[in-house]
Subunit: 348 residues, 2 copies
């Protein structure tokens, strides 16, 4: 119906006050008389006025109440949960987010960053695509826009970071498998040459070393960090001359794949082979067998990242801080623990 939008001036005219007064009402300033406020508010409702934030943000002082979120793979439930956590915080803080999926493409990521910048984001949270360079984030930092990198590292970038404690988590998980009596423990799935992978493998290696056990290189089987990758990895692992009896998997998706692969090979995960995942995605709890995994609480991490960014946006100054989010092992069934009632056949 109305092609031309209703503005403060329209409200002012209709309510018989000046546009300045309307503006004051909009920001619920204590300066305006209650009677006037009521009258203006009534008119606003009556005319169906919609506040135009774009116009308001034009004045240079204002910061925009829009933040950007870029995630490398939204189809992965870990990152979806992460995004949902951020969304929650942003929403209750009265912010809206541009949320985009880079799909691991640095080019798309660059485009999205540029676009978000043109739209005036007040800050950015990014789970960087593989291959992201410091120069991709440089211009943001240079113009004083706070950036928080989550999950993955960007070498050389002077931005705030929030990572999970991959090393400690992996170490705990492997220690637990050792306590259960395993001595040949593999590391399955995940793409080598990523920081996260390296950190987790290092935890795996150190836990084995501290227990005086071997950590042969052929027991680290990389692949994609997905269900399909897990299937491929366990296949390779089972064909080794001395196959492992348990594995720490790169993430939960891979762990589910490992379980699938075990079943295809006639082995029951938990009973015949200990499987531990990483991340604790929602399905880990309800899967059969329930997945023992290192809980990273992606939603919580998302919330924390969002809070971190908002703090910086509000403070105005950008002082990069680095937070390592602690993780904890959640023991369920896939590792074989608590199987005392069932026949245990782990000791070969």
């Amino acid at each position: 119906m109305n092609k031309s939008r209703v503005t403060v001036v329209d409200i002012a005219r209709a309510a018989g006050v000046s546009k300045s007064t309307v503006s004051l009402v909009l920001q619920s300033s204590p300066l305006v008389n209650e009677t006037t406020r009521a009258k203006v508010n009534a008119t606003i409702r009556e005319l169906g006025y919609v506040y135009n934030r774009g116009a308001a943000n034009l004045r240079q002082s204002a910061s925009s109440r829009i933040i950007g979120i870029i995630v490398n793979d939204l189809t992965n439930s870990f990152f979806a949960e992460l995004a949902v956590g951020m969304d929650m915080v942003m929403q209750s803080a009265g912010y809206v987010q541009f949320l985009s999926n880079s799909a691991e493409s640095v080019d798309r990521q660059r485009e999205v960053i540029a676009s978000m910048r043109e739209h005036g984001i007040a800050g950015l949270i990014i789970s960087p695509a593989r291959g992201t360079e410091a120069s991709d984030l440089k211009p943001l930092a240079a113009s004083g826009i706070p950036v928080v990198a989550v999950v993955r590292n960007v070498v050389g970038a002077k931005v705030s970071t929030l990572f999970s404690d991959n090393y400690a988590g992996a170490k705990d998980a492997v220690r637990h498998l050792i306590d259960l009596g395993h001595s040949r423990i593999a590391f399955l799935g995940g793409i080598a040459n990523t920081t996260v992978f390296t950190e987790r493998v290092q935890g795996w290696r150190d836990a084995l070393a501290e227990a005086g056990l071997d950590a042969p290189d052929n027991c680290v089987v990389g692949s994609t960090a997905s269900r399909a990758g897990g299937v491929a990895a366990i296949e390779r692992a089972l064909s080794l001359p001395e196959p492992p009896t348990a594995a720490l998997c790169f993430n939960d998706a891979a762990a589910f794949g490992v379980c699938d692969g075990l079943r295809t090979a006639g082995k029951e995960p938990g009973r015949d082979f200990g499987v531990v995942g990483f991340d604790d995605v929602i399905e880990a709890e309800t899967a059969v067998p329930a997945l023992t995994t290192v809980s990273v609480d992606p939603q919580g991490m998302g919330r924390r990242a969002a809070q971190m960014l908002l703090k910086q946006v509000n403070a105005g100054r950008v002082e990069p801080e680095a937070i390592v989010s602690s993780v904890r092992l959640v023991v369920r069934q896939s590792c074989g623990a608590g199987l005392k009632d069932r026949t245990r056949r782990i000791s070969a």
Copy 2:
């Protein structure tokens, strides 16, 4: 460093032209001389100018190149995929999207819509939270902002829609189970009283009726549309006096839960019980057993919805159109088909 942003005027001064010329260069107008264009572009790069879309959108003619996407549950991979499909199209069309998760809360959804409106979205794609009313979308339509509702219906809302053919998909799936020799087929999972649920149950019912089979009410076991819901539903179904031998599940998540529940009950999905899902999420293919499911291609649907919206945004006029996206049954292993040729060594 630079606290004050670089504007067209700064560029103009530095390049020795007028701001109007700079503006023309920005829109790559053919009016400007090549030499001038090169000079201006150089200055733009040199000063690190960032285009301010907010300012440009102020002129009443312009439409904003921002669109809103609201999804009811981003942690569900179906909707995550849907969002990713939309993201792809929007990105290549040069749009950015506000992407928010309503988490099935109409209140949050209302807030988000209001906020997006204030930020000047050119259009909205929404997968509505349960309980969304036409009045929630009314103001958008009234101000000429095109809206596309996907997946779920909003009764009485005069907006464009894109749904999958739930009825035909369910019917095909049940027919397939009947062809495999099943006669007691349940419908498991999903929340009753939703359009999607009703349509799928109707397909189930009609397929049974056409085959002259019974469709008893106690064979429809509602629950949440999640993995946990599937577990609960199959438990209930198996405790019926005459338990079913196969089931069409509300969606893939529920189907996975049903598989889990079957295993806990000592039955192997596919071999001992036919399971068919709905949606065809990514994991359906790699799960063990691979899930037979009605393929909805969420990413494709997302892309289609985005194209639909963009068409309307560009056209300027809003003429609601309704599209029903066809689906197809993807036969894999969980239904028990093709078990004759393949010697299954699952039997322990």
